[in-house]
């Protein structure tokens, strides 16, 4: 599903090169559940951005669902995301001017052609995450947990083959966070979507089937690594 080889990312910071990721390699099998952990500034988010094709590496390759995303243009990567990738963000990132249902519809409408009726699919998903009756609320009218559930529904809207979650519980209280994670796990099981989670919450990481630990841009521990 996801194959990463010798991924390196160097940023220019204050005119000096800053290596954020050093030759990271890993494989994630279809339907897998990977957690990336590590302290702040260790390169977790950078790695996530590169895996999802939001950014291009300085060197190394990322193959996502069989495609080498290093060889794609920015807009081709956008289309790939639209078809195969789902996202859940720490800060929810719902579009404030759209209702819950409209937010969930966005990926489907962006894709243009779809077997699903976007509105119908959105309602289904919102019901699935327990938000029936809240379809026409705007993000500002929802609690943090509800917003994140809308985000989860949106992440699954286009039936992605892989879902990236960046600190999905970071802005939620303990109980609400646990509910959101449970929801992600359920959907992961039901639809066979691969799940890649970035977190520094050890309790959350423990629920993943595999955990890699980053320190200063390098993998220092990988529970799933084959010897």
């Amino acid at each position: 599903m996801l194959t990463v080889q010798k991924l390196t990312k160097v940023y220019q910071s204050g005119g000096r090169p800053l290596t954020v990721l050093k030759e990271v390699s890993l494989d994630v099998e279809p339907g897998g559940f990977l957690a990336v952990v590590g302290p702040s500034g260790c390169g977790k988010t950078t790695l996530l951005g590169l895996l999802a094709g939001l950014d291009v590496p300085t060197s190394g390759t990322v193959r996502l669902a069989g495609e080498d995303i290093g060889g794609l243009t920015e807009d081709a990567r956008a289309r790939l995301r639209g078809e195969k990738v789902g996202f859940v963000f720490q800060t929810f990132q719902l579009i404030p001017t759209l209702t819950a249902q409209e937010n969930v519809q966005v990926p489907l409408e962006l894709r243009g052609r779809s077997d699903d009726d976007p509105a119908e699919r959105a309602r289904e998903l919102l019901e699935r995450v327990g938000l029936q009756g809240r379809e026409h609320h705007y993000p500002a009218q929802l609690s943090g947990g509800e917003q994140q559930r809308v985000a989860v529904a949106r992440a699954f809207a286009n039936r992605p083959v892989i879902l990236f979650a960046d600190e999905p519980t970071g802005n939620l209280d303990h109980v609400t966070g646990a509910r959101v994670v449970a929801l992600l796990e359920e959907l992961n099981r039901e639809s066979g979507t691969t799940l890649v989670l970035v977190t520094h919450d050890p309790a959350l990481a423990e629920r993943a089937r595999r955990t890699i630990r980053l320190l200063d841009g390098a993998v220092v521990d990988d529970t799933g690594a084959t010897a």
Binding site: L48, A78, G82, Q93, T97, R111
Partner: protein
């Protein structure tokens, strides 16, 4: 799903929370669109009305006219036209002194002696009713109401014109034809055509206009007559005008005026464009996260760009729509406002062409200006949705976006094309575009300079560091991220430029004819014209008896050009352009004078004056620069003048620059005394009396003794000029105020755009212990600085522009009225401060906790 539908739907939903703000940005272009639509559709209506009422306005289908009675061949032609069944109205028109003995009132009037057929078209309405018909049989006069007021007379009084007296039978309350106030000055007096011979008013040198107005069933017939008898008309110096000529003349004049006014409207629109650009820029800046999320979810860059472009287009349409509605409303009110100024009754109808054009131009301007800020949405990385941390990471120097250059080019070309589309001549369009580019360029530079200075001040130690904190903080606001300095300075400064330029030009023009100038230094303020040689001693005697000085005595000799460099007018006509002299120079009657020195209103630019022992023929002659240029005459060229049938041979010896703006007798051609003193001539006598009563008594005394002598009270003339001018100025000022209104709207939009950031900063400052008073002072410092900057640069540009126009276009001296300009500066700064403070109310209203919780 259809792609366009997806874009439209996303654009619609996405705009939800910001529609009110978008409408505010859009309203910036509304004022300009309103002005364009109102002017364009009013012009269309006016043209239609002129076409429909052209016969009434001109007075006939064919008009023959000249400055002397029709010669026998022309009179025979007119008779033959009349005999073939066409109605012919006759008019002799001249200026004269009118006198009412009962009230001792005296005024210079515009006498129109008309026959029974006059007017051919339309109705004269008199009060009391039915007096017009009496002109055919009785010796009565129908006068303007204004004359009765000026003379203190009433209906039934006797009006004396020259040696004849007329019973004032009524006033003309409605008169078909051109409006009186622009046709020379002085009220109109209608008398019977047959009475004109005996008034003794028409003497040598009088300016009299003879007209025959012919009614014809169709225009072609009029054109045929003009065409068939052109040689006769040219030979006999008869001017012809058909309804068709008249229509196209009026239409041309209207178009020129409309084109000028539309340029002012266009300036307002372009100002609005700057507002749109700043609004869209701020709007996009607030949407970065949303855009990043859309990009994460699979939206391509073109798609995201399309979503916001659609929003900008919708904004443009809404703004233009509001503008069109406003424009149509204003246009409906215009005929009422301009009543009495317009020569026709204007029927207001919707002009679909003007409306569509307004919508189109508004939309185009909105899109052109929105393009550059919109390009930013393409550069938003999806990474920005992941974490804000990425925003603070230094991305290194930003790559050059070639599309920015494209957007800038599109804007420049678009503005240029729109300007060309409004201009009647390409030169004007280019000039306009260049002037706009220069002004905006200067303002932008000034704004950048201000940002730079403000940054330097913040980093400076020394004196600046000891300034009060609120002042430093306020000034620092000018350069901080997302500042509105450039927008406000450019838009408002531009508005100030337009307003102040118009003010300066108008002020400098009016100054030339102002009472203060006219009365300065003992200049003449009463002028007697058409004084015959044998009357000069008498007139001067009356002046001296009144204890007044004879300031100047100027002989006037009427003449025409017979040959130029040995060629007659006909032969000159065959010279190819551009060497051919202008036709008017060969046709006109020159009213020349003779003297042997230059006056104070003249400056010798070429050649030399003749000495006291000048001999001829050929005599030396001095031409004014205008005539020399249009005659294509140089020093040494020979000109033969026809002076009442006697040929006088001359050579051009001197070319003079003449200050025509002074109310003094000035001349195209000046001859040596020896050359003309025996030629038949009339005399102009000038005197000066400080008191209006003395002036009136003197005029009366001269009119009683010399009925053919006409006199002007310069002060009265001055008031007439000012009145005419003030009406034109009203229109110009209205347009200037439009520009300033737009500038204010832009300012409002700019302040609203930075609102959120202000509120947050305000909250933070409050948290850190800033008092309300301190916050107020910080904002006040910032807005006052912005207002002063916009005002100073705008006024500076206006002084440059005003000088250029006064100097190059009107060829007048230019002075800068410091006090009014200082007032403009103060008002600008106060306006910016007021609007800025009003729009920042929320900074004070919301508590710190409330704001910080939102963040």
């Amino acid at each position: 799903m259809n792609r366009a539908a997806v874009i439209a739907r996303l654009a619609w939903r996405e705009s939800r929370a910001s529609r009110r703000r978008l409408v505010l940005f859009a309203s910036a272009i509304s004022v300009g669109v309103a002005a364009l639509v109102a002017i364009a559709s009013f012009t269309t209506n006016l043209e239609t009305s002129v076409r429909q009422q052209a016969r009434e306005l001109l007075g006939g289908d064919l008009v023959l006219g000249g400055n002397r009675p029709f010669t026998p061949p022309v009179a025979a032609l007119i008779d033959s036209i009349q005999r073939s069944g066409h109605r012919v109205a006759r008019e002799v028109r001249f200026s004269s002194m009118a006198f009412v003995r009962r009230t001792e009132g005296i005024r210079l009037v515009d006498v129109r002696a008309v026959n029974a057929e006059f007017p051919l078209y339309g109705q004269v309405v008199t009060a009391p009713a039915g007096q017009w018909r009496r002109l055919a049989a009785e010796r009565i006069a129908v006068v303007d109401t204004a004359l009765l007021v000026a003379l203190g007379a009433r209906i039934g009084d006797t009006l004396e014109l020259g040696s004849k007296s007329f019973l004032i039978a009524g006033v003309a309350s409605e008169m078909p034809g051109r409006i009186a106030s622009f046709e020379g000055f002085g009220a109109q007096v209608f008398i019977p055509f047959r009475e004109v011979g005996g008034t003794g008013l028409i003497s040598f040198g009088s300016r009299v206009h003879h007209t025959a107005l012919v009614a014809m069933p169709d225009q072609r017939m009029a054109r045929r007559i003009v065409y068939a008898h052109r040689p006769l008309f040219e030979k006999e110096k008869v001017r012809t005008e058909t309804v068709g000529d008249f229509q196209s003349d009026v239409t041309d004049a209207l178009r020129n005026l409309s084109s000028f006014l539309q340029f002012v409207g266009l300036i307002a629109l372009l100002l609005g464009g700057i507002g749109v650009a700043s609004g869209v820029g701020a709007f996009v800046a607030g949407k970065l996260e949303t855009i990043a999320v859309l990009r994460c979810l699979g939206a391509t860059r073109p798609l995201v760009f399309a979503i916001y472009l659609v929003q900008a287009a919708a904004l443009g349409l809404v703004g233009s729509g509001i503008g069109v509605a406003l424009g149509v409303g204003v246009q409906g009110a215009l005929p009422r406002i301009l009543k009495g100024v317009l020569p026709v009754d204007v029927r207001v109808t919707l002009a679909p062409g003007a409306i569509l054009q307004g919508l189109g131009i508004g939309l185009a301007v909105a899109l052109l200006f929105a393009l550059r800020p919109l390009l930013e949405v393409r550069l938003v990385s999806p990474l920005q949705a992941l974490r804000r941390a990425y925003e603070t990471e230094d991305p290194g120097p930003r790559p050059r976006d070639p599309w920015r250059l494209v957007a800038f080019g599109a804007l420049a070309i678009g503005v240029f094309l729109i300007a060309m589309g409004r201009a009647e001549e390409p030169r004007v369009g280019v000039g306009f575009a260049v002037a706009i580019a220069l002004s905006v360029g200067t303002l932008t530079l000034a704004a950048r300079l201000a940002v730079w200075v403000s940054r330097r001040i913040s980093r400076l130690g020394g004196i600046a560091a000891r300034w009060p904190y609120v002042l430093r903080q306020g000034l620092a606001n000018l350069h901080r991220p997302r500042n509105q300095t450039r927008t406000v300075v450019t838009a408002l400064g531009f508005g100030v430029t337009v307003l102040a330029t118009l003010y300066l030009v108008q002020g400098n023009l009016l100054k030339q004819v102002s009472l203060a100038t006219l009365n300065a230094g003992g200049r003449a303020n009463v002028v007697f014209v058409d004084v015959q040689s044998d009357q000069a001693a008498g007139v001067e005697g009356l002046i001296r008896t009144a204890g007044l000085p004879v300031i100047q005595r100027v002989p006037i000799v009427p003449m025409r050009v017979a040959t130029l460099r040995g060629k007659t007018a006909e032969q000159i006509g065959e010279i190819p352009q551009p060497q051919r002299p202008a036709p008017w120079t060969m046709r006109r009657e020159y009213r020349s004078t003779y003297r042997d020195t230059a006056t104070t209103s003249e400056k010798l630019v070429q050649g030399a004056w003749w000495g006291p022992r000048v001999t001829g023929p050929p005599w030396p002659v001095s031409l004014s620069t205008e005539v020399a240029q249009d005659l294509k005459a140089d020093i040494g060229d020979s000109i033969v003048w026809n002076v009442q049938g006697q040929m006088i041979e001359t050579r051009v010896a001197a070319i003079r620059e003449v200050d025509w703006a002074r109310f003094e007798p000035n001349f195209f051609a000046v001859f040596p005394t020896a050359a003309l003193q025996r030629a038949p001539h009339s005399i102009v006598v000038l005197t000066r009396a400080d008191d209006a009563g003395t002036r009136a008594r003197l005029q009366r005394a001269v009119a009683e003794r010399f009925s053919n002598v006409t006199s002007f009270d310069v002060a009265l003339l001055q008031r007439t000029v000012e009145r005419v001018f003030s009406r034109v100025a009203l229109a110009i000022r209205f347009m200037a105020v439009l520009s300033l209104a737009t500038g204010t709207l832009v300012l409002l939009g700019a302040v609203a755009a930075g609102r959120l950031q202000r509120i947050r900063e305000g909250a933070l400052l409050k948290t850190l212990g800033a008092t309300r008073r301190q916050l107020t002072r910080i904002l006040l410092a910032e807005y006052l600085a912005l207002g002063l900057l916009a005002g100073v640069v705008g006024i500076g540009l206006a002084i440059g522009g005003g000088w250029a126009m006064t100097h190059f276009v009107f060829k007048l001296d230019f002075t800068v009225p410091l006090l009014p300009l200082a007032a403009v500066l103060v008002v600008t700064a106060a306006l910016v401060a007021l609007v800025g403070m009003a729009a920042s109310r929320e900074v004070f209203r919301r508590t710190a906790v409330e704001v910080l919780r939102d963040v």
